[in-house]
Symmetry: C2
């Protein structure tokens, strides 16, 4: 708990002075004022986060966290649980969607076992197992309060270790069969929206399984009574180990003045927990895209974040975050690499 | 005229067989069905365009075409005309927005003088000058019919020359002080929308100049009576040399089975002319983004194209196209680089 507390206390404000300097430079570059829209805004935001008016995005990291969910025994997913470890091996072998997109943008992928229900035997996977899958939240709490704290602190540790290898920006992704179910539960509890409004078809369940999924989520909330004002209570009762780990990444990123890019619905639910623990986290968050999963938009609206992309993605793993990182990098390059009107000898706008 | 006619005749259909094969492969990759949304659609579209079920995007080209406009003497732009050649030099010196974003995505920039009102003395600029700026369309036709055809055929020639250096995808961008004015005129004439609905503030004119801009466009249309059914007539009466050049790029790209990425409003107006000349062009077009310039959305809706990005861009030069190309490349890499369920040993979805 000490680690979590200290990390939260370390989260401060962004640097207005660097933002002003970055804005001033953007306005001096050879383009009509603000004509690169969101790219310019991203560069100014990153200047504030990193306290650097000329930020460079070089070391790009995607942290993909895997965990299993006891609630799958209620039949909430179209895929069998064995897919979680199979996909973890796919990640380290470079064959998954996130590997392709991380290579595309020049990022490294850090794969973390936060609680897969099988032993992962591969040295490339960071072992931060809190347990072999959570317990079935439809029958009791998914984990203890101690496990919830441990999962968040494990995420903080993962981030701090990566920081030593260089991190200019971090994207947060997930893998875990059944994990849209706890994500919907977290979203419903924290935002106060009805379960139906925050629940989607995940990897693609049919209408009958979808009805069942909603029932299971309602049952878990009714049974466990998570306290919306206590994010750790919410995580322990209806969350997941990889969700807690991602929450830790957001908190540690913000505490260390590094921009953190949200992927889809599951990483969004983790961001929501981080935001409830410390609202200042929001200033360090970039929403890469809006997922097909309906709850994601509700999460982003709740935090007041606007997604960069709308590409009908719903894979997770950090795939949307990778595309978002690429845009943030583009914005920072505009800021640092473009010529100014003065340096290029281009005439400025006339007085009107 | 022979060149233009032959190019249009060469435009055929996309390859349904390659699209089916690409779709089948997408469905076999280690991700829930269609979970990478638009990225998957782009890869299938490119398979059809290139007649290759496993297309690779390696040689990326941005063609940025510059031209001047006699109509600037009516006071329709906030910048002086000298900015057009100044920006051309900025392009070849690598300091403009398009240079930064082209480097970011690994594309080469081909800068073409289609009709700048000054001599450009730099061997890196492709000289395809049809004239030293168009004539003032508020006082008569912007160019002759012969000049309009010449500008389109010059664009075709530029594309065919580049093809010898390798082109897997091409983005189309513009530079020309005052060129939102002819673009609005073209859009109004072809779509039948009122001038007010297709006219924006360009590089940022104030309210008084904006009112004047609308009046000038109305006057030019009333005076010249361009025939909406004859795109060459529209180009000659209210168009521009760089707009004609871009129209040529779209036609030549489609004729050669290369995907072509539209940038913003001006390159959109050029695409509209290409579409009116041969509606089959549409199947080869990818809309990278929706510009802040209001007419752009009307153009895209008219052609039934959905933009990939909404980032409040309005710079032109091919900047939005560069970001779009990056997404197309990402989609094709997903198709060609991801592991299949079989190759990665991942279990497939259960029967429900």
């Amino acid at each position: 708990m000490q680690k979590l507390k200290k990390t939260i206390e370390k989260i401060g404000t962004v640097d207005e002075k660097s933002m002003k300097e970055a804005k001033k430079r953007q306005d001096s570059l050879t383009k009509p004022l603000e004509s690169l829209g969101v790219l310019e805004e991203l560069s100014i935001m990153v200047a504030g986060i990193t306290k650097n008016p000329m930020p460079e995005i070089k070391d790009k990291v995607i942290v993909t966290m895997a965990g299993d969910h006891g609630v799958v025994e209620e039949g909430v997913s179209a895929y069998p649980q064995e897919v979680t470890p199979q996909m973890v091996y796919n990640f380290v072998n470079g064959g998954a969607g996130i590997n392709v997109l991380a290579r595309h943008i020049g990022a490294r992928v850090v794969v973390v076992d936060m609680g897969v229900a099988a032993d992962i035997e591969n040295p490339k996977v960071v072992n931060r197992k809190t347990g072999y899958g959570t317990r079935n939240m439809a029958k009791g709490p998914a984990m203890t309060r101690e496990e919830a704290i441990k999962s968040i602190e494990s995420g903080i540790n993962v981030f701090e270790n990566e920081l030593r290898n260089g991190v200019d920006i971090v994207g947060v992704g997930d893998m875990g069969i059944g994990n849209t179910t706890p994500s919907s539960a977290i979203t419903a509890v924290i935002t106060g929206e009805p379960v139906e409004r925050v629940t989607g078809r995940g990897t693609g369940v049919n209408a009958r399984l979808f009805e069942n999924k909603i029932k299971v989520i309602k049952k878990a909330i009714k049974l466990n009574k998570p306290d919306p004002k206590d994010p750790i209570d919410v995580l322990s009762k209806v969350g997941g180990f990889e969700i807690g780990g991602m929450t830790g990444i957001y908190l540690a990123g913000a505490a260390n003045h590094i921009p953190i890019v949200i992927d889809g619905f599951i990483s969004g639910a983790a961001a929501l927990l981080a935001y409830q623990l410390e609202p200042k986290v929001k200033n360090y968050l970039i929403a890469s895209h809006c997922s097909v999963e309906v709850g994601h938009k509700i999460i982003l609206d709740y935090m007041g974040l606007r997604p960069l992309l709308n590409l009908n993605l719903r894979l997770g793993e950090g795939t949307g975050a990778a595309l978002g990182i690429n845009l943030v990098e583009a914005g920072c390059k505009i800021l640092t690499e473009m010529a100014t009107f003065a340096s290029a000898g281009v005439s400025e706008k006339r007085e009107e």
